[in-house]
């Protein structure tokens, strides 16, 4: 069942490639605007790079979260998902996993490439990749709760941002902090551990919260 939902989401994403690509392009453009706007000051660019990439990743995931449940809601398949004889949190978890694969993984893969624009060293690029890989599941997981709460509402995109972005702050701090630490020459280990802890925590609670929110939204 779990794999069927993931498979379904992957097919749907493939048939609607434009949606996925627009998120990736948004990420690329936002990140690239900073070096262009600030100019070739290597020292400054290096110090703002982690924050810029992370903030852009948060904003890019806002774009795709609106669609996480809204499309299914409109054509009635969300009702059908709620009526399947499986625990709803598993359904939500499968959809969240698919969202991470479709919307977040491309960002994680492309981020080191974009980091070159900021004159980051090899080690820092690698760390940027690792922190994003560890931290982006949280974006999907916490985002799923926001998306579930706002499903069926008009202008849900803005509302999701207001609900979810504040909850992203810990991920942003430890994710960008880890990369910054490596730029400063200190150990990023503590940041990475904390990031992993947040990921595990949200993996434990977010699917339940999103499932409960979906039931309320669909009443």
């Amino acid at each position: 069942m779990f794999s069927w939902i993931v498979w379904r989401e992957l097919i749907l994403a493939w048939r609607r490639r434009a949606d996925v690509l627009s998120t990736v392009f948004f990420f690329v453009i936002v990140v690239s605007l900073f070096p262009l706007g600030i100019g070739p000051e290597a020292q400054l660019l290096r110090s703002i790079a982690p924050g810029v990439v992370w903030v852009a990743a948060l904003l890019a995931s806002m774009l795709s979260l609106g669609r996480l449940f809204a499309n299914d809601y409109q054509d009635g398949t969300l009702e059908q998902l709620l009526l399947t004889p499986q625990p709803l949190y598993l359904v939500v978890l499968a959809k969240t996993l698919a969202h991470w694969l479709i919307a977040e993984i491309p960002l994680v893969l492309i981020a080191p490439l974009l980091g070159i624009q900021f004159d980051l060293s090899q080690d820092t690029l690698r760390l940027l990749f690792v922190t994003l890989l560890l931290g982006t599941p949280v974006l999907s997981l916490i985002g799923s709760v926001g998306a579930a709460l706002t499903v069926g509402l008009r202008n849900s995109g803005v509302l999701i941002s207001i609900l979810v972005l504040p909850l992203y702050i810990p991920v942003l701090i430890f994710g960008a902090g880890g990369v910054e630490a490596s730029i400063m020459g200190t150990s990023p280990q503590s940041h990475i551990y904390l990031l992993a802890a947040i990921t595990v925590l949200s993996l434990t609670f977010a699917p339940w919260a999103a499932a409960a929110a979906l039931r309320i939204s669909l009443e």
Partner: protein, 196 residues
């Protein structure tokens, strides 16, 4: 109860195997709400729904193994083909079917030659047929069907009628909200009319 409005109260009925219930009533009288309460999407403001003696709230997901609900929204994905829609919705409901059997079910529903194109290219009635194809293979006992006859032609309605008759003969239960007259042979038809 929708918003502040009480749609119906004092409603008490039980359904035995082989029963067909036609739910009628003017627009806004609560047909859809009643069906959503019966399928467990909506919690009743007062009272409870019982399945074989147990409250459906306590049965939770187990209840869904007995029921199939088709709402007035089709519940199929526009980007997927008929076969994919049918196979995925069946797999999620616990019975995996092969591509071949999905194809033959869709052929039976009068969609021969159109099983493998995205559903968004089909007409409204054909999409409804794809949604209804689930009834052929779902194998559940309680069917809750909301306005399913809308935008269907005569042959499709005849097809649905024979599906429901077969379902009732096997001891199934069907609750159908519809404005159209629905003639069934043999089976015991109950009419439930909701007033505004």
């Amino acid at each position: 109860m929708r918003g502040d409005r009480r749609l119906f109260s004092g409603l008490n009925f039980s359904l035995s195997p082989g029963t067909f219930v036609q739910l009628t009533g003017p627009n806004g009288s609560g047909k859809t709400s009643l069906l959503r309460i019966l399928c467990g999407l909506l919690a009743p403001a007062e009272g409870e729904v019982r399945w074989q003696g147990a409250n459906i709230r306590s049965l939770a997901e187990e209840y869904f193994t007995f029921t199939t609900y088709l709402g007035h929204r089709h519940g199929i994905k526009d980007e997927l083909t008929g076969i994919e829609n049918l196979r995925i919705s069946n797999a999620l409901n616990g019975t995996e079917i092969s591509e071949q059997s999905a194809r033959s079910v869709l052929e039976m529903m009068g969609l021969a030659g159109r099983e493998a194109i995205p559903v968004r290219l089909l007409s409204e009635g054909q999409r409804r047929r794809v949604a209804l194809a689930r009834l052929v293979v779902c194998g559940t006992t309680l069917w809750l069907l909301d306005e399913i006859l809308a935008s269907l032609d005569k042959s499709a309605i005849a097809l649905i009628r024979s599906l429901i008759e077969e379902h009732l003969a096997k001891g199934g239960i069907a609750v159908v909200a519809t404005h159209q007259e629905f003639e069934l042979k043999s089976a015991s038809i109950q009419r439930l009319e909701l007033a505004t």
